[in-house]
C-alpha cells in the first residue's frame, strides 16, 4: 500500500501528501483529517514522511519563539505616530446606514421580496385600523371632571360634520387616477367598495362649497356617479 505517497523526485506529490503539514498543525477540516488519517494508517512511507513533518513543525515553532519580542520602542513609535494623526470624527449616521445596508445586502432577493410584501400589507392594515378608529370616534363627546347634582355638564366637541359622498368610479379608472383625484379633493375613502360605491369624506366646508364640490366631482372623467351622503 504505497500508492498514496509517490516517489516525489519523479512524480507530482499526491493531494494527501500535500495536506500533511496542515494535519500536523491541526488546521485541516474534519473531512481532510479523516482522509489523511486513513492514508497514514495504511501507508508506512507516508507515516515516515509525516514524522519528518512533525520535526519540521516543532523546530519552526522553536525557531520563531527564539526570535523574542520587539522592544518598547516599537510601541512608543506607533502611539506617537497615532497621536500625530489628524483627529477622525466617527460618523454615527454612517455606521447606522452601513449597518442597515449591510443587513439588507445579506438578505436573498426572495427574502427581500417577501419582506417588502409583508411591509406593504402591514401598512395597509395599519391604515385600516387608523381609519376605523377615526370613524368610530367621530361622535365622541367630552365630559368635564366637575360633577353636577342635577344634570351633567357636558360639552359636545364634535366638529362640524365634514361632507361625504358616495362615488362610483368609471371601470377604466386606474388606481393612480383615483389616488390623484383623492389628492386634488383632499378626500379620503372611509368606506367601500359596496356594489362598486365608495364613500368619500372631504375637508370641512360650507353647504355652498359642498354643492360646488359635488358638481365638480360629477364632471370628473373617472367618476361615473357621485351623490352626497351623510
Amino acid at each position: 500500500m504505497m500508492a498514496t505517497s509517490k516517489k516525489i523526485l519523479e512524480q507530482e506529490p499526491s493531494e494527501i501528501e500535500m495536506l500533511l503539514p496542515w494535519h500536523a498543525a491541526g488546521t485541516l477540516n474534519a473531512r481532510d483529517v479523516r482522509r489523511v488519517e486513513e492514508a497514514l494508517a495504511r501507508d508506512p512511507e507516508l507515516a515516515r514522511q509525516y514524522a519528518a513533518i512533525r520535526e519540521e513543525y516543532a523546530e519552526t515553532i522553536g525557531l520563531n519563539e527564539s526570535l523574542g519580542a520587539p522592544s518598547a520602542r516599537a510601541m512608543q513609535k506607533l502611539f506617537a505616530a497615532i497621536d500625530g494623526e489628524p483627529v477622525r470624527k466617527p460618523s454615527a449616521m454612517r455606521n447606522i446606514a452601513a449597518g442597515i445596508s449591510g443587513f439588507f445586502a445579506r438578505l436573498s432577493p426572495r427574502t427581500l421580496a417577501w419582506s417588502a410584501g409583508l411591509g406593504a400589507l402591514a401598512l395597509l392594515v395599519q391604515a385600516g385600523v387608523i381609519g376605523l378608529v377615526l370613524v368610530k370616534n367621530q361622535n365622541a363627546s367630552f365630559q368635564t371632571a366637575s360633577l353636577s347634582v342635577n344634570e351633567p355638564i357636558t360639552r359636545d366637541l364634535t366638529p362640524a360634520a365634514p361632507p361625504r359622498a358616495f362615488v362610483r368610479f368609471a371601470p377604466e379608472a386606474r388606481v393612480a387616477d383615483i389616488t390623484a383625484l383623492l389628492d386634488s379633493y383632499q378626500a379620503s375613502i372611509v368606506d367601500g367598495a359596496k356594489d362598486g360605491m365608495f364613500r368619500l369624506q372631504f375637508k370641512p366646508m360650507s353647504k355652498d362649497e359642498t354643492a360646488g364640490l359635488m358638481r365638480k366631482l360629477q364632471k370628473e372623467k373617472i367618476v361615473s356617479l357621485a351623490v352626497a351622503a351623510q
Partner: protein, 166 residues
C-alpha cells in the same frame, strides 16, 4: 488599538523579522503595520481573522522594505551569507543535533519558502488563509509548501542529516 497591539504584535514582529532578517527593520515594520491598521480599521470587512489581515499587511510592508534595501538580495546565497554565530548545518549534524540543523536549514530557505513554512507551522494558518495572505491560489499554496519541504530536505541531506524522506 492597545488591545489589538498587545495581542498580535509579537507574532507580527516575528513574521516580519523572518522576512526582513533585521530586528531594527522588523520593529519599524510593526509600527507601520499597526499604524496602517489604525488608519484603515473601517476597511476591515471581517471576512477573515484579524491575524490573517495583519499578516497580509506585514508581508506587504516587509516586501516593500526589502525592495527599499538594495543591499539585501532575495536569494539563497544572500540568506546563507548573513552572519550567524551559531554552528553551520554540517557542524550541527556532526553533533547529531537534528534540531539545530533543521533550524539552520529553515533559516536558509528562500523568503518565498520561509514565509509559507512559517505561516503554516508557526502561525497555524489554513490553506485558504495562506492563499489570502500571500495572494496565490490554494493549490499553489499546497505545492509551494511541498517544494519548500523538499528544499529543506535537500539542505539537510547536504548537511549530512538523513531523515528517511524523501
Amino acid at each position: 488599538m492597545q488591545v489589538l497591539y498587545g495581542r498580535h504584535h509579537v507574532r507580527v514582529f516575528r513574521f516580519g523579522f523572518r522576512l526582513v532578517r533585521d530586528e531594527q527593520v522588523a520593529e519599524d515594520l510593526i509600527s507601520e503595520v499597526f499604524l496602517d491598521v489604525w488608519r484603515q480599521a473601517g476597511k476591515f470587512e471581517g471576512r477573515s481573522a484579524v491575524s490573517t489581515w495583519l499578516l497580509a499587511i506585514t508581508r506587504f510592508k516587509a516586501l516593500s522594505a526589502l525592495r527599499r534595501r538594495k543591499d539585501v538580495e532575495l536569494d539563497d546565497e544572500a540568506a546563507n551569507a548573513i552572519e550567524d554565530t551559531s554552528d553551520d548545518p554540517e557542524v550541527a549534524a556532526q553533533k547529531k543535533d537534528t534540531g539545530v540543523a533543521l533550524r539552520k536549514c529553515l533559516t536558509a530557505l528562500s523568503p518565498e519558502h520561509r514565509e509559507i513554512v512559517d505561516l503554516v507551522y508557526y502561525h497555524e494558518k489554513s490553506v485558504e488563509e495562506v492563499a489570502e495572505i500571500v495572494g496565490i491560489p490554494e493549490n499553489t499554496v499546497k505545492t509551494r509548501l511541498f517544494y519548500a519541504r523538499k528544499k529543506l530536505a535537500e539542505l539537510l541531506k547536504a548537511a549530512g542529516v538523513e531523515r528517511g524522506w524523501p
